[in-house]
């Protein structure tokens, strides 16, 4: 069965990972859109400075789950969550939780790149301004350069910072959105199929970037592309019809899963 998993060779990059503390802990979580239950009884721990991939067929709830981690589903009317999600031991759904503060700590990159219809500079400056992070103009410029460098796009845009972000290519836009998320120095980075709309070369750049960012951030990435999950992640969680079927080290999930369903999915028998 290893024949279908061509990228297995790359697994060595992330496989033996030293244990890190638990960053996000989810216990018995159910999630509803109105009366419709989208996620059932999810329990999982995500470790710090580890890349975790969520895989599963479309509609399985992996994106919905990702969006519960920064409470992005709050802006959809009629959604409801049961159970407990903690970050660094703090319940993020407690009534006293400051949602705005939570989202500052948990950055997010979306499936379809969504730069604001402003200049490249302003795209990054926005998050810094609303969070009051820059002390001066030069501090602002420094932080913007730093985050653009961290997102590996600085060389391409440094001479055109005042140009509209929407003039960038799809891959550049997505890296700009990553830079925008990094600028406010989150602890966790959620990525919802960040490369699904990109060509192979742009995809490769994003994947390399994820590998570099993992030393600083806890990363959760949703992908429908199993090769991608195998390439970039240390741990993988497989979702099926709103349930978490199994999670574990990526190498295990792809070569020796405990569940038959997982094996069928990763070997491409369905999905």
């Amino acid at each position: 069965m290893t024949t279908v998993l061509r990228p297995l060779s790359t697994l060595t990059t992330g496989a033996p990972h030293p244990a890190t503390p638990v960053k996000i802990d989810v216990q018995g979580m159910n999630f509803y859109y109105g009366a419709k239950q989208a996620l059932s009884d999810i329990t999982i721990s995500l470790n710090a400075n580890v890349v975790t991939a969520f895989i599963g067929p479309s509609g399985c709830g992996k994106s919905t789950f990702l969006r519960t981690l920064n409470r992005m589903n709050d802006i959809i009317p009629g959604t409801r969550l049961e159970g407990r999600i903690t970050i660094d031991g703090e319940d993020i759904y407690a009534p006293s939780t400051d949602v705005v503060g939570l989202r500052r700590r948990v950055g997010m990159v979306f499936q379809k790149s969504n730069p604001f219809p402003k200049s490249i500079f302003e795209n990054i400056a926005y998050g810094l301004r609303i969070n009051g992070l820059a002390t001066s103009r030069s501090d602002m410029e420094g932080r913007i350069e730093e985050s653009l460098k961290a997102a590996a796009i600085w060389d391409e845009v440094k001479d055109r910072l005042t140009e509209s972000a929407q003039a960038l290519s799809g891959g550049q836009q997505q890296r700009l959105c990553i830079a925008r998320a990094l600028a406010i120095q989150p602890e966790i980075l959620l990525m919802d199929e960040p490369a699904s709309a990109l060509d192979p070369i742009a995809t490769q750049r994003i994947e390399e970037l994820i590998y570099e960012l993992k030393s600083t951030y806890t990363i959760v990435i949703v992908t429908h592309n199993m090769q991608q999950a195998a390439r970039v992640s240390d741990r993988t969680a497989f979702f099926w019809l709103g349930r978490l079927v199994e999670s574990g080290p990526t190498a295990t999930i792809f070569t020796n899963p405990a569940e038959k369903l997982t094996e069928d999915y990763v070997t491409g028998r369905f999905g």
Partner: protein
């Protein structure tokens, strides 16, 4: 005639009649514009625009009416703009389909169907009498402001809906509050649509006659309004006044006044279109 050819003839007939109807409405519009133009163009000159009304038709002008229309419009916009946008933002971004929001929505839909002259009675009963503002620019502007409000609210909501969800999500994901998201991302994105709707609402208000007559705006004014509490007249009322006079010379004045009114409307609409195009280009 065979049934097939009869059916095809019927098809032709329906098409011909439809085209006839559309042609007739085009003809009606052309006749209207031509009639007004041919009656009024001789009176159009600088003197007409800058003179006071007069008992002698050839000396009369629309200066106070033009200024009155402008003043009233400023008050109207000053009321309808903030209230309308505020209400639209609440209903679209905060209301979330709650029972209160639903009630307000039904209410606004109903207000949009109330005849304009009823707004005039509202203005007369409340602004002129209860508030004691008299038949002033303030009363007139406020009355038209309320009349324009449903239009502004409905068009602003349309505009807000055109801002993609992804722009809101991008902002929230950076730790922006709801209001920061609305102020920095949603409103700028919806601005062209909001402005277009606002200008269209104002161009409707500038042609309104009945509600202002009802609140008691004067037909004959030979002074320019000095402030919001001043009595006033507006261009449509001046036109109505001239139409009501039997002499042909005054009808000529009315036609000239209508040309000015239509040119004003046309330029407002042109501004709306240019604004919309420019914003669309800037965002593309």
């Amino acid at each position: 005639m065979t049934s097939a050819s009869r059916r095809i003839a019927g098809d032709r007939l329906l098409q011909t009649m439809s085209i006839l109807v559309l042609t007739l409405s085009l003809v009606a519009l052309t006749a209207l514009l031509y009639d007004v133009w041919s009656d009024g163009w001789r009176r159009l000159d600088w003197q007409f625009l800058t003179s006071m009304p007069s008992g002698r038709a050839h000396l009369a002008g629309i200066y106070p009416a033009l200024l009155g229309s402008l003043y009233v419009l400023l008050v109207t916009a000053g009321l309808a703009l903030p209230l309308g946008i505020g209400a639209a933002v609440y209903l679209e971004e905060y209301g979330g389909g709650g029972r209160l929001a639903r009630l307000i929505e039904i209410n606004i839909a109903n207000l949009a169907g109330v005849p304009s002259i009823i707004y005039g009675l509202l203005g007369l009963g409340i602004f002129v009498r209860v508030f004691g503002w008299g038949p002033s620019v303030l009363s007139g502007g406020a009355t038209l402001g309320l009349l324009a409000l449903p239009v502004v609210i409905l068009s602003t909501r349309e505009a807000l809906r055109t801002v993609p969800m992804s722009a809101r999500e991008g902002s929230y994901a950076l730790g922006a509050t709801k209001w920061q998201t609305i102020w920095h991302q949603v409103l700028p994105g919806a601005l062209p649509g909001i402005l277009t709707g606002l200008i269209l609402a104002m161009s409707r208000a500038i042609g309104e006659t009945a509600p202002l007559i009802t609140i008691g705006a004067l037909a004959y004014i030979d002074f320019t309004p000095s402030g919001v509490m001043s009595p006033f007249t507006v261009l449509p009322i001046q036109i109505y006044n001239w139409i009501s006079k039997p002499q042909a010379a005054f009808a000529e004045n009315a036609a000239a006044g209508i040309i000015v009114l239509l040119v004003l409307l046309l330029s407002m609409n042109a501004v709306a279109i240019v604004l919309r195009d420019r914003f669309q280009k800037a965002r593309a």
